[in-house]
């Protein structure tokens, strides 16, 4: 009985110190992880904002007025003379 008590009085402080050191390491890890989380959240928010800006730019560049402006600038013209060559289904009437 005396030996058990003596043994525990040696082991328990060691366990206590070990747990304290472990807690210090884990706390330290959590702090740096927390900071990383904060930075990641900020990065996500920044990327979302960038996406919105890009979507706005894409929308503007692909708008019909911009396409028309660019097309006219490239020399494309609107045709006023449209000729229909054949009505539909003519080829279906031909036997091979």
């Amino acid at each position: 009985m005396h030996r058990i008590i003596h043994g525990m009085s040696l082991i328990l402080p060691v366990i206590g110190v070990f747990l304290m050191i472990t807690q210090l390491f884990i706390s330290n890890f959590l702090v740096s992880a927390s900071k990383s989380t904060l930075l990641l959240d900020q990065e996500i928010a920044d990327i979302r904002e960038q996406n919105e800006i890009l979507r706005q730019q894409v929308g503007q560049e692909t708008s019909l007025s911009r396409i028309e402006e660019n097309a006219l600038g490239l020399g494309l013209v609107k045709s006023n003379h449209i000729f229909t060559l054949t009505p539909p289904n003519v080829a279906y009437n031909r036997s091979l």
């Binding site: 927390s34 989380t37 800006i53 229909t84």
Partner: protein, 557 residues
């Protein structure tokens, strides 16, 4: 003994003071202290929800969001209010006195200065490096197609709480679906403000607003607005509108009106322009209404296309004389000819054949007198007087579309029934709703009722084709296409009488007649080049129709 009691009294008194002070901190001031403590060790912020986008039928953006900021001031951090106000006033375009008055109000720790400020302006403000100037993220609507479809879309303003709210058009009607729900994060933080991962945390993710996908074709809308603008200039009209609908689904392919406004700067325009005249403005349809009355006569078998009536002069009803539009009379004519000649006298004949009750029943069945239910916020419907208040002259004039008011959307929907085997459809702007996770809710086309039989619809279609081919507007019709249509020239009622010089010229029709892909109504108010629909609205209709045939690759028949 006295000393013992004195000591006892003193300690009792001290105990009471301590207990009452504890009561104060733990009970009375508890809420306030909890809030202060939470603000010290809790990180709390709102996750704003993005407002849903409005997309055309091919997914092209009509309305999207752009990053914006709320600019605010923290008066306690500002050292020189006047200098601060002067520096930012030129950038945010407000009077410096106004800004300094706002900042100088007593006991203010946070003062909003401007909302919905775009990124380039915010960058300019940041360069000023002013202490006490802050920025909070916000969003703002962006219109890639500029002011296209302004009446259809509406705009986003603020409600009484300063929150974003849609007004008019789609933004108003679908405000709840577009708005979404802001989220929240509440997390324990350390002394440096970093979150404690194993601490207490609550997170409510934002629910972004749903995107809405329209029936509207972006290219058709763009082209229609351009053609309407050209038509207004060519024919010298004060106002005009064009609405194009798919008769089979009720889907609105394009909706344009003039004058319009720019929804991105709506405050600079008169409030009278905000309402969409196609769903909220009324007019007397004139001769375009004859197609509906004619179809009623055919459906009730009171007439056939070859029934003959004698158009030998004006018809007298009470003290009134009903004349043809050109005071020409052709003797014995068929019902088909009544439409070709657009004979008011002929229409009175049909109205008499139908009788008051039957005619009024068809007017209601075609949807007049009640809103169509289109998904736009500001739709109204002109009232139709009670049946018992209709006299003989009212029935006679209603037969050719005068003395009865309708909105353009009611008129185009009614004629669309003739293009859809007699089935009246509910007009619809939105085809689908899509949430952030991609889940789609399809809004199915809604059949209201069958007003006339398919056979009657086909017969009236042929009569309308004949009216286009042989009527007053035949000179403008695209060759090789079968277009069913009718011109209209309605006098405008002014102070209880009709003004002979002022008209609303219109044309309604659908094509290709055998399998209609679209039904379109064109209206021009007070055209000055000519008052007649056949010379103004009809050519504009045919111009847009040609564009549509080309766009869809529909060859001549």
């Amino acid at each position: 003994m006295f000393r013992v009691w004195s000591a006892f009294g003193f300690f009792t008194f001290a105990l009471c003071c301590i207990v009452s002070r504890l009561f104060w901190w733990q009970v009375i001031a508890s809420d306030d202290l909890q809030r202060q403590a939470q603000s010290q060790y809790y990180l709390q912020f709102t996750l704003p929800a993005n407002r849903g986008e409005i997309l055309s039928s091919d997914g092209s953006p009509i309305v999207i969001n752009q990053p914006a900021f709320l600019v605010y001031a923290e008066p306690k951090k500002i050292t020189d209010v006047l200098s601060f106000s002067k520096k930012i006033s030129t950038v945010i375009k407000r009077e410096p006195e106004e800004i300094s008055d706002q900042i100088s109000l007593p006991n203010r720790v946070w003062v909003p200065l401007a909302r919905k400020i775009e990124t380039p302006i915010v960058e300019e403000l940041k360069k000023l490096n002013l202490p006490g100037l802050g920025f909070e993220k916000d969003t703002k609507r962006f219109y890639p197609e500029a002011s296209m479809a302004a009446h259809t879309v509406g705009f986003v303003g603020s409600d009484e709480n300063g929150e974003d709210r849609g007004y008019f058009g789609l933004e108003g009607y679908y405000d709840r679906e577009l708005h979404g729900k802001d989220g929240k994060i509440q997390q324990e933080k350390d002394v440096r403000g970093a979150p404690i991962l194993v601490g207490d945390a609550k997170r409510f993710d934002p629910e972004n607003g749903r995107n809405i996908i329209l029936y509207m074709d972006r290219a058709i809308q763009y082209n229609t607005e351009k053609r309407l603008q050209e038509g207004i200039e060519t024919y010298g009209a004060k106002e005009g509108s064009v609405v194009i609908m798919d008769p089979k689904t009720g889907g609105i392919l394009a909706m344009a009106s003039y004058p319009s406004y720019d929804e991105s700067t709506y405050t600079e325009f008169s409030k009278d322009l905000y309402k969409n005249p196609i769903v909220a403005g009324s007019y007397e349809p004139g001769s375009t209404f004859k197609t509906l009355v004619m179809s009623a006569g055919l459906e009730e078998k009171r007439i056939t296309p070859t029934t003959i009536m004698n158009e030998d002069g004006p018809v007298t009803i009470g003290e009134y004389a009903i004349r043809t539009w050109n005071d020409q009379y052709h003797g014995p004519i068929t019902m088909s000819k009544i439409l070709e000649y657009s004979s008011n006298v002929g229409m009175v004949y049909i109205a008499n054949k139908l009788g008051k009750d039957t005619l009024l029943r068809y007017i209601h069945e075609f949807g007049f007198g009640s809103p169509t239910g289109i998904d736009l916020e500001e739709e109204t419907s002109p009232d139709i007087r009670e049946d018992r208040l209709w006299g003989d002259i009212d029935i006679a004039t209603a037969s050719f579309g005068q003395g009865i008011a309708a909105t353009p959307i009611q008129m185009v929907r009614a004629v669309a029934a003739l293009a859809n085997d007699g089935w009246l459809m509910q007009p619809q702007m939105v085809k689908e709703l899509v949430d952030t996770y991609g889940k789609r809710v399809i809004i199915k086309p809604k059949k209201i009722r069958q007003v006339v039989s398919a056979n009657t619809a086909h017969v009236i279609t042929e009569m309308m084709v004949s009216a286009v081919d042989l009527g007053e507007a035949k000179w403008a019709k695209p060759k090789g296409y079968r277009i069913a249509g009718k011109t209209g020239t309605a006098q405008i009622p002014v102070a209880g009488h009709y003004d002979a010089k002022k008209t609303i010229a219109s044309f309604v029709g659908f094509a290709p007649a055998d399998d209609p892909k679209f039904v379109m109504l064109v209206t021009l108010r007070e055209p000055t080049s000519s008052q007649w629909g056949s010379e103004t609205a009809a050519p504009l209709f045919f111009t847009i129709a040609r564009d549509l045939f080309r766009y869809w690759g529909l060859p001549a028949q």
